[in-house]
């Protein structure tokens, strides 16, 4: 009888602990973006950070690395949590790592376009990077819409010192509409972009978040929580889940002007890859890109299918270029459990000899 009571008590305690873990995971925010950094430049909402080096100066690479993330999420995914952070990994490999955080646009920024990001904010940030690091050449890594911005910059300013360009899951070619679910949703028959922006000014973060999750509704709205439930007794999985959930639920609005260009010029008319995109009167000619190029694509990417990233390889003039295909999804290749084994080491191995 006593044994039976003991078993029940033990089971009740275990269930209570599980519930406490579940409540904590769902209601509290994990400490993300913990790698020490210094703010070196700001302009409007944009901030440029430089990570504090951890290796002796003589072992560091002389060519600094600038990270440029997308516009609708925080860049903290690049520095998710200690022990599982791309930034931390690259700093340990001796890179002088800078991160450009675009910040959250306010209503006063609703007119901001790719023109402003590519030809105003990014060149100014790069100028500061050069001044602070003392280097004339630099490497740049762009991810998702950050990759669109870096690609445009590389094409428009090929002589600005860009030595190495790394594109992660870059949505550049929008011709294969059958494979791009977003392209179907934003078709001009169904969405009136002007009406949407007249109502909101900027594209609301909640709508972007809904759209991203609706691409795989069962995984995002059900499977994600079941995975947490199944692993409540595994602290490592719970912490990883909590960190990712903290990032996923912290979305930001997208400036109205850039959203309009993304939908009309890219998703609908595919102007970038066709060489018809014009920023401030300058045509974005991808053949002007001469920097060493590493394009990373994820084979199971439902947001940016590989067919959107691969065509860049035949458009650029770079003599040194490589297409690297990784198993995983849009975010998983850089922040998933396999990122530290496959994607990050490959980026380091590619960049290392080119950063001398």
């Amino acid at each position: 009888m006593e044994t039976g009571t003991g078993v029940i008590e033990c089971e009740l305690t275990a269930q209570q602990q599980r519930l406490e873990t579940l409540t904590k995971a769902l209601t509290t925010r994990a400490a993300i973006a913990q790698t020490p950094k210094q703010l070196v430049w700001t302009l409007n909402k944009a901030k440029l950070y430089r990570y504090v080096p951890v290796v002796p100066e003589e072992q560091r690479h002389p060519v600094p690395l600038l990270l440029v993330f997308a516009l609708m999420n925080r860049p903290s995914i690049l520095d998710l949590r200690p022990g599982h952070s791309f930034v931390e990994f690259m700093v340990k490999q001796g890179y002088d790592v800078f991160l450009l955080d675009w910040g959250e646009p306010g209503l006063e920024d609703k007119h901001l376009k790719f023109d402003d990001y590519v030809l105003e904010a990014l060149p100014r940030a790069i100028r500061k990077l050069k001044a602070v690091s003392g280097a004339e050449e630099f490497s740049m890594l762009g991810w998702c819409i950050g990759a669109i911005i870096t690609t445009m910059y590389a094409a428009l300013r090929p002589d600005d010192g860009l030595k190495n360009l790394i594109l992660l899951t870059a949505p550049l070619d929008f011709s294969n509409k059958e494979s791009i679910t977003f392209a179907k949703w934003v078709d001009e028959r169904y969405i009136d972009v002007d009406k949407l922006l007249a109502a909101f000014g900027n594209m609301p973060a909640e709508m972007i978040n809904y759209a991203a999750k609706a691409l795989k509704p069962v995984e995002n709205y059900v499977g994600n929580y079941l995975r947490l439930w199944d692993n409540l007794d595994n602290p490592q999985v719970v912490e990883a889940w909590r960190a990712m959930n903290t990032w996923v639920t912290d979305n930001i609005d997208m400036a109205g002007g850039v959203f309009r260009q993304l939908i009309v010029d890219l998703y609908r008319h595919n102007r970038l890859i066709q060489g018809e995109m014009v920023l401030r009167g300058e045509r974005v000619d991808l053949s002007r890109i001469r920097a060493n190029l590493l394009a990373v694509v994820a084979d199971a990417d439902h947001i940016t299918p590989p067919c959107q990233s691969q065509p860049i390889m035949s458009k650029v003039s770079s003599p040194d270029k490589e297409l690297f295909q990784v198993r995983g999804g849009h975010i998983g290749i850089m922040a998933g459990s396999g990122a530290g084994k496959y994607t990050w080491p490959h980026i380091d191995q590619w960049l290392d000899p080119r950063s001398a």
């Binding site: 306010g106 006063e108 949703w185 169904y190 691409l215 059900v222 199944d230 439902h302």
Partner: protein, 138 residues
């Protein structure tokens, strides 16, 4: 190996989880097909368009009444704040331009300081003024 398998405690939820995962996979694939269809795109677009059209008159009326109320109270409106924010951004840009100019000057000064000192120039000889002997003077 088989002994270890036999010693494993029976988990009555194991088979249930397996069935659940199979069901989830099937459901997930079906839903991906649904959201990838033209019908879904059309339905989403129609719903959003209806919401925007229906809410537009209320939004405009609210905005107008809010602006009037704030003006009567002598308080700044949203447009005033936006204008101020734009001016601040412009100021930031000018500051950034000045920062860039300072960086250029600093580099030039450093380069000049690092350059080897040039040999002192000889003082230019004073040339004797050429006397033109004009015919008229003669």
């Amino acid at each position: 190996m088989s002994e270890a398998k036999d010693n494993k405690p029976f988990d009555m939820f194991e088979s249930w989880r397996g069935m659940r995962d199979v069901y989830m996979d099937t459901w997930s694939k079906a839903m991906v097909d649904v959201v990838n269809s033209e019908a879904y795109a059309q339905a989403t677009g129609t719903t959003m368009d209806s919401c925007l059209t229906a809410s537009a008159p209320f939004r405009e009326a609210l905005e107008k009444s809010m602006v009037q109320a704030l003006k009567q109270l002598g308080m700044p409106t949203g447009a005033d704040f936006l204008s101020l924010a734009e001016r601040l951004t412009n100021l930031e840009m000018r500051l950034d331009d000045m920062d860039a100019a300072l960086i250029r000057i600093e580099r030039l000064v450093t380069a000049l300081a690092a350059a080897p000192a040039a040999p002192p120039r000889r003082a230019a000889r004073k040339e004797k003024p050429k006397v033109k002997q004009s015919k008229e003077a003669n």
